[in-house]
Amino acid sequence: MSHWIILPIVLPAFLAPFIVLAARYHIVIQRSVSLAGVFALVVVAAGLAWQASDGTVTLYQLGDWAAPFGIVLVADRLSTLMVLLTAVLAFFVLLYAVGSRWDYRGWHFHALYQFQLMGIMGAFLTGDLFNLFVFFEVLLIASYGLMIHQGGTVRLRAGVQYVLYNLLGSTLFLFALGAIYAQTGTLNMADLAERVQLIDPSDTVGIRIAAVLLLMVFAIKAAVVPLHFWLPSSYAEAPAPVAALFAIMTKVGAYAIIRVYTMIFPPDLEATAGLHGWWLLPAALVSLAIGMVGLLAARKLDRLVAFSVIGSMGMVMISISLFTAEGITAALYYIIHSTLAAGALFLIVDLVRSSRADLMLTAQAPVAGSALTAGMFFMAAIAMAGLPPLSGFVGKLLILDASFDTGSVAWIWAVILISSLIAVVGFGRAGSVLFWKSQSVAVDPGAEVQAAPSPLSYVAVGGLLALLVAHTVLAGPMTRYTSAISAQLFAPEPYIATVLDTPGKLSDPYSDTDEEEAH
């Protein structure tokens, strides 16, 4: 049994207390440990993704207890891809946090950051629904700390809303888990996949309620309208590197929907048929529309970017709610794009903030480094709005193509195309007011000269933008890989067999030979 799978969870879990206990007053040690740890995570995640890329499903039984009695971690193509994406995003965001000295403006940034990574990695790797809940809580409690980093009343108020909303979400999650356990007697995903099929078709009330509750919980995480209200304030008020890392958190919800609703409640399951088409698709269309309209209506740059995240999650959800192989392929491609683009945009917001009085979309005098910042904003905005030549355009094309044969093609095409136009107008207006018009404003001679953001900040944003370019150039191999992922998702039998048939303690109560091999 390979122990590499658990490393993305264990490594941050050890680094965080080390940073708190041993390096509490030494920011240099904190930074080096944190950066080295996240870089090691990137390497490990790349190794895991490479290992899973040929379609093998790797299982890790905690304490060698056999599923469904023990908790298992499962590394397949989808989970390793998400782990790799998280690690790469976290690396560049951490570079930015160090470069912009955000980590020095409050206590315990690096420790909370590591705990946050631990929760996200665990959520992607676990093969057990209750364990998914626990990792959700780990990532949430770390995010509460990160969200109010540096404090301030406005940020604390947004933090209260964020925490309460997520607390209610967690309660709903527990109700869903209780309902599932009462109906099936298990919470292991692979075991559930088999048992849900066996439920008597005339007695599906409980499991249908559970499926809807679970979808609502994941929709809260993914900020699907009408459950998106927590997102704009929290993302706008959170410190920039934290908001950039939060770009992956909405994707945790998307990942959970993909995982649970392809394996446990597949589209052809009669009891939950219509859940995606009738409920998720309209909600996703409205999310996209509201996100992009909100983008146009925003009066501050940080809210504009937050609404663009809602819009892009709507786009992802439209593609997921098709629940076809092409739809999931396109959704995964778009998830990677949207994570990188949203991360870059939040960091650029901070670059703008660091040299201006506020983030209102008004013309203010130009500042040091504004040309480079403007160029980066231009590029990230093109990516986010989905204009050619960057990956947003490729992703949108894939989603349009995937929805072409469905019954709701008219709705999907209309909403996507019109909302894209609105997004282009919104980003264009913001960019021209912030960067272009500022050239006509005279510099106040008495004003204090602001230093340009540090080169490391630009390296971090540039790294994310370079990844976006690579994601565009390598669109062919990437879509081939995401279609391999969706093929694996729609044929979950090897996954289920690996989880349930791997021997471990308790798998056969009459043989004790397994216990000798535990270590």
Binding site: F130, V134, E137, L140, I141, Y144, I148, G151, G152, T153, V154, L156, R157, G159, V160, Q161, V163, L164, L167, L168, S170, T171, L174, F175, L177, G178, A179, Y181, A182, S233, E237, R299, K300, R303, D358, M360
Partner: protein, 116 residues
């Protein structure tokens, strides 16, 4: 007994939702606590209600109760307790800083949120 437990969960949930909708931090936190109590009882009942039966193997026992929901409830209690403590601290910070304990955005001054 099933009726009693189900009613208790229902009443706790209803009370919790009512308090959450008050949108002032103290009632909201009380409401969230009530909701977590309700969900704890719900989780506990998801393994079916059994009276006086041991959860682990023991000599002479004729019936057992499901031990897993008990473990789940224990985890849920710890987590919700910790989360409530966190939200109390953050809410206290926001209240002391802003002298206002409304949870939603300020309705009196719609521009306030944009003028941070």
């Amino acid at each position: 007994m099933e009726f009693l437990v189900a009613s208790a969960i229902g009443v706790l949930t209803a009370g919790g939702i009512y308090l959450v909708l008050r949108l002032r931090t103290f009632p909201v936190i009380m409401g969230v606590s009530l909701l977590t109590y309700a969900v704890n009882v719900f989780l506990f009942a998801s393994g079916r209600l059994t009276v006086g039966a041991p959860p682990i193997l023991s000599d002479g026992a004729v019936a057992y109760t499901d031990p897993l929901p008990q473990a789940l409830v224990l985890t849920a209690i710890v987590i919700s307790f910790g989360m409530t403590a966190v939200v109390v601290m953050i809410a206290l910070g926001a209240y002391l800083g802003g002298d206002d304990d409304h949870v939603d955005d300020d309705t009196k001054a719609p521009a306030a949120e944009d003028a941070s």
